[in-house]
């Protein structure tokens, strides 16, 4: 269940589903309408197929209501398809209605429609048709004549009512109006038309007839005006019902009386017609063209100005106005309602309530507020995280709430509204609020704030400490929160789309998260700064203030420590970066140290620094363009802005600048410059961070661990030299990372500790962890350090703190080899690992001995750390390993026919050509299409895996899970016809 809800949470997947389903259902509409014209087997099949595929994908995504309705629909369609049920217009009516509801369900799966009655109407119709009447049966004839009679009757009535109406109007004109007569007239008209509407669906010609009658009414005209004059409020309905058929008849008769037009106006249908689906690319192109038009307008205006052609001035300003409004209109076309996003939260809250055993209701307000599509898309994750947090940490359990004299059911409010040209979203809960003491205490512990400063902080500042990277008060790791995404990530994500977050909290009464967002992303208010020959745009959201320094100020305010420059700012020190030094040497006008004059104080979620620039120009609302993918890879340019004068300014990515200036990297914590690996920014993996006995922090990649158990330390018992604890009815051998850890846990009388459970060669082991510091994403920029103990495979910086990355496999191997420990694992040597295999390069698989060195594996991996790790242990397992730094290199290697490769092992996230693309290329090459492909990645989502399958990846493995990986490789190499028998030799 949780799986399906996860799927439904994937906005991309859902969007894809919605688009596909809507296209299919629209087709259904058309086919149904075609069927109304006469039976058509192909059309029925089309409808059936469309509904069937909607049902299938809805079921896959867990949209039950869609699935159910589609299922019922499909059942009936199936009968129609097999001619056991005959379609008539009533049936089509019902089906159209069902289709409409399906559409609205697909658009908003959470919306509550009365499905029961819908399904019932479908079934009723089916039941009615179950006793089909032969076509030419007397009953039909009778029915037809009956209808005709009724029509004649109704047209007579209309005639009569017209006479009456005319009379009434005459009376009206004479002012001697008897009060009674007007309602009477109206009543007569109503009767006439109710007959008409009842007859309408039965026979189209009949309605046409009626309509023609009404044309007469219209022709007799001054009628509506007269009626209006007389008694507007009462006659209004009569007027509209008269006008509609008249209009319809007019159009139908003029187009040679096509019988499809229904005289019954359907306001819903017209609402549907007023929107059309436009591909985003078309919109984007329009935005671009509008931008270009603005530029051309500017040029034109300048020319008119300089040529002093007065007569053109008027035209110029007219073009100016039109262009501006056109740009506005196009921008508004990108807007979407936040309800798209909000609508998935009731489900989330419901699921969380169950999971966490809490009671909480969600109130949603302002779902109709509109935001730019890109912002809506980027907002999904942060909002989900905030809601989870509120439920998990904010709202108390029902018992606690009752004790605190609060209603047992908590309330979570999600509001969106406009304020001052921006959109604000508020998430408010009436839970426990933020515990200030604990926040301060944790913040001091983590070294996020100095102790003395912490006590001077305002309440608000304290509460907002939770956004600091590395902050987590979560003591218990649940699968709801503590999933490696912290509040700092929420903040970074929101800031990335130009928004801000802020928290207010009343202890015991609840907390309130404010998110302020710009309406659109395509236009960003920015400051244009100048450096050397370049203009740069700095998003306004990142700028705190500007400092202008005179030379005498500089000497007073600039401090230099060990080559790092800082500037005194607001009683503190602000790291200073000279922009020129971030530019490549070839781009500097003069290769001299930049003079400090103007400083922009920058704050992003992670960094705060001063950026010295040559000149600060104007603030400008810039239209952001993507920068070519080659240029984007330089790291510090995030986009291009086309300025009003047609020049381009480059949008500075502050993260990239900070990295370029090596900001925040403590010099002493870099072990050796030569092994320091360049940081690849977008790859990270979740890791559990714990403290070792010597005080060092250590990290274990989350994906290596099966689970983390919180246990009572007394459960761990000693037997000979092994530590054993009961685990799921079996014995689990527990290792201490550092000797004596357990003793220490016992001495400290901790009432709980953690055991991280992991698997080696299909046997589970545990690792004793006294304290989990955090679970979070860490960078994969690991510095390898060969000299340290084998258990530590490298070091990584997490918030400037050096963290050792543990290699649990090496560690366990080492432990298991210790003499006292009996090697009971030997019986399962399916996958060679670690040192065991160095001595024996061939292992037994089934009955054949395989010499793995016959196989060449091509490893495509861009992160040097993983590349080396994987290469190392593959070689230990006896394989021949060739490496390439990225997909493109790998592809070049593969394309060379002289290179023999038996298996491709590829990372997914790589520059230039990623794993998916590489796999596609391989699969589409006739020579390589049978090459086994195994993906290794930290990208462990279902969607990614599915996509992997689509492009032909055979296996999907997680980085650093070496047993599984070796297994998978061996399996792939030995599977089926992919390799020739030559590689096998009979076991002796």
């Amino acid at each position: 269940m949780s799986n399906t809800s996860n799927l439904a949470d994937d906005p991309e997947l859902v969007a894809e589903f919605t688009m596909e389903a809507m296209a299919g259902l629209t087709q259904v509409d058309q086919s149904l309408l075609a069927l109304e014209q006469g039976p058509d087997d192909e059309a029925v099949n089309e409808v059936f197929r469309a509904v069937h595929s909607v049902k299938g994908s809805a079921g896959f995504l867990g949209f039950e209501s869609v699935q159910n309705l589609a299922h019922e629909f499909e059942t009936i369609l199936d009968r129609v398809r097999h001619h056991t049920l005959k379609l008539n217009s009533e049936g089509i009516d019902v089906m159209l209605k069902v289709n409409d509801s399906l559409k609205s369900l697909v658009e908003a799966p959470a919306s509550h429609l009365d499905l029961e009655s819908l399904i019932k109407s479908l079934k009723d119709w089916e039941a009615k048709q179950n006793h089909p009447i032969p076509e030419d049966s007397p009953a039909v004839v009778a029915q037809a004549s009956d209808v005709e009679m009724r029509i004649e009757e109704s047209s007579n009535q209309i005639d009569a009512s017209i006479v009456q109406l005319a009379d009434g109007l005459e009376i009206n004109d004479n002012v001697n109006l008897e009060k009674k007569s007007v309602p009477e007239v109206i009543e007569a008209i109503r009767n006439a038309f109710s007959v008409e509407t009842a007859a309408a669906p039965v026979s189209v010609p009949a309605t046409l007839e009626v309509a023609k009658q009404s044309v007469k009414v219209a022709d007799a005209k001054p009628l509506p005006a007269a009626v209006n004059k007389a008694v507007p409020e009462i006659t209004a309905p009569a007027k509209s019902s008269l006008a509609v058929p008249a209009l319809n008849a007019a159009t139908t008769t003029s187009t040679s009386a096509s019988p499809t037009a229904s005289p019954v106006a359907n306001p819903k249908a017209s609402a549907h017609d007023s929107t059309i689906r436009v591909p985003v690319t078309v919109l984007e192109e329009l935005v671009t063209l509008a931008g270009e038009l603005v530029l051309s307008r500017n040029q034109l205006l300048r020319m008119i100005d300089s040529s002093k052609l007065r007569s053109f001035t008027a035209i110029g300003s007219r073009i100016d106005q039109v262009t501006t409004s056109m740009q506005d209109a196009i921008m508004s076309a990108r807007m979407q309602q936040v309800s798209i996003l909000f609508n998935r939260f009731p489900r989330l809250v419901r699921d969380l309530n169950q999971k966490l055993d809490k009671r909480c209701r969600l109130l949603i307000e302002g779902g109709d507020v509109e935001l730019d599509k890109t912002i809506i898309e980027a907002l999904g994750d942060p909002l989900t995280h905030l809601l989870r947090n509120s439920l998990d940490h904010g709202i108390e359990s029902p018992e606690k709430r009752v004790k605190a004299r609060k209603p047992a059911e908590g309330t979570l409010q999600l509001k969106a509204f406009h304020e001052g040209g921006k959109v604000r979203i508020i998430i408010e809960d009436d839970g426990a609020g933020v515990n200030r003491e604990r926040v301060v205490q944790k913040a001091i512990e983590r070294g996020l704030v100095p102790a003395d400063a912490a006590h001077r902080m305002s309440d608000r500042e304290i509460v907002n400490l939770i956004f600091k990277p590395g902050f987590s008060t979560a003591e218990v790791v649940s699968d709801v929160s503590g999933r490696g995404v912290g509040m700092d990530v929420v903040r970074t994500n929101i800031e990335r789309i130009g928004g801000t977050v802020d928290v207010e909290s009343d202890a015991g009464r609840g907390s309130r998260v404010h998110i302020t967002l710009p309406l659109t992303l395509a236009i960003i208010p920015s400051w244009i700064v100048q450096q050397d020959d370049f203009q740069f745009a700095i998003p306004e959201a990142a700028v705190i203030e500007f400092i202008s320094l005179t030379p005498s100020d500089i000497s007073k305010r600039l401090e230099t420590v060990n080559d790092s420059e800082m500037i005194r700012w607001r009683n503190g020190l602000l790291p200073l970066i000279r922009l020129r030094e971030c530019l490549p040497t070839s781009c500097r006008v003069i290769d001299r140290r930049q003079r400090i004059n103007k400083i922009v104080v920058i704050e992003t979620g992670i960094f705060q620094f001063g950026l010295a620039v040559d000149q600060v120009c104007d603030p400008e609302h810039v239209v952001v363009k993507p920068i070519g993918n080659h240029l984007g890879q330089c790291g510090y340019l995030e986009g291009v802005a086309v300025l009003g004068d047609g020049n381009v300014a480059f949008i500075l990515g502050m993260q990239g600048i900070a990295e370029r200036a090596r900001l925040g990297v403590k010099v002493e914590s870099v072990p050796d410059e030569s092994v320091k690996i360049d940081v690849k920014r977008n790859e990270s993996q979740a890791a559990v961070i714990l403290r070792r006995r010597n005080g060092n922090l250590a990290a274990i990649p989350r994906m290596v661990l099966q689970r983390i158990e919180r246990i009572d330390p007394t459960l761990i018992q000693k037997s000979t030299n092994k530590l054993i604890m009961p685990y799921r009815g079996e014995q689990l051998q527990v290792f201490e990372l550092d000797p004596g850890l357990l003793r220490r846990v016992r001495i400290q009388r901790l009432d709980h500790c953690y055991v991280a459970v992991f698997t080696i060669r299909e046997v589970e082991f545990g690792l004793l962890v006294p304290e989990i510091i955090d679970i979070r994403d860490i960078s994969t920029a690991v510095s390898m350090n060969e000299s340290v103990r084998r258990a530590v495979c490298g070091t990584v910086l997490v918030d400037d703190v050096l963290v050792e990355l543990l290699d649990l496999y090496a560690f366990a191997d080492e432990k298991l080899r210790e003499p006292v420990v009996i090697q009971e694992q030997k019986e399962i040597p399916i996958a060679p690992s670690g040192r065991h295999s160095i001595e024996s390069q061939s292992i037994e698989v089934g009955k054949v001995n395989v010499d793995w060195s016959q196989f060449t594996i091509l490893l495509a991996e861009d992160t040097p750390f993983f590349r080396n790790q994987v290469q190392k242990f593959l070689e230990q397992s006896g394989f021949n390993v060739r490496i390439s730094d990225d997909g493109q290199q790998a592809w070049q290697f593969l394309s060379d026919e002289s290179n023999k490769v038996d298996l491709l092992l590829t990372d997914i996230e790589m520059p230039i050509i990623d794993g998916f693309e590489l796999a596609l290329k391989v699969r589409s090459s006739p020579r390589l299409q049978d090459l086994p492909i195994v993906a290794i990645t930290s990208l462990h989502t279902e969607a990614a895996q599915r996509r992997g399958k689509d492009v032909g990846i055979d296996e999907w493995q997680i980085k650093l899970d070496r047993d599984k990986l070796t297994n998978a490789i061996q399996r792939q190499l030995l599977s089926g016809k992919r390799i020739s028998v030559n590689y096998f030799s009979e076991a002796t």
């Binding site: 080659h630 330089c634 291009v640 480059f650």
Partner: protein, 154 residues
């Protein structure tokens, strides 16, 4: 390949002393008056960017990338060929635009083994013409260059 395509229609142009050709089907347009802006990055083969009706395109200094020294393309006022494949678009700065020529596909030959230009994988092959060699670009590769290709020094 040569069996399926009967004829190649090539836009020919000059960079330095070399003549090049590129399939006209992959050319979006030829632009002679876009203003190029320099980019603050350290890639030798990136001449800059141009603002083409609001879309910012990277300008490849093909001459520099291939290691042709005599080229001025990309340094002064220049002609740009905008190449478009699937999802990628780049502009190539050229010294001189020449002509559109139709060439039987069979005349497209592999590069000789001792042919040495840097990044020559962007070349599909060459055509021998009476007046000299015509180097034919592979538009897909040209539009999908990686950093390493662009960062090369001559």
């Amino acid at each position: 390949m040569s069996n399926t395509i009967k004829k190649l229609e090539l836009m020919t142009f000059q960079i330095g002393d070399y003549s090049f050709g590129i399939d006209i089907n992959d050319i979006q347009e030829i632009n002679c008056h876009a203003r190029m802006s320099k980019v603050p990055v350290d890639y030798e083969a990136v001449a800059g960017v141009i603002n083409l009706r609001g879309e910012v395109l990277t300008v490849i200094a093909l001459g520099k990338m291939l290691g042709i020294k005599s080229s001025n393309a990309g340094s002064g006022s220049s002609n740009y060929i905008v190449v478009k494949t699937a999802n990628h678009r780049v502009a190539i700065a050229v010294d001189k635009l020449k002509d559109v020529e139709t060439i039987p596909a069979s005349e497209l030959k592999h590069l000789p083994a001792n042919f040495k230009l840097s990044n020559q994988h962007v070349l599909m092959g060459l055509v021998q013409k009476p007046e000299g060699l015509l180097l034919v670009l592979d538009s897909t590769r040209v539009t999908q260059l990686g950093i390493l290709n662009l960062a090369v020094a001559c």
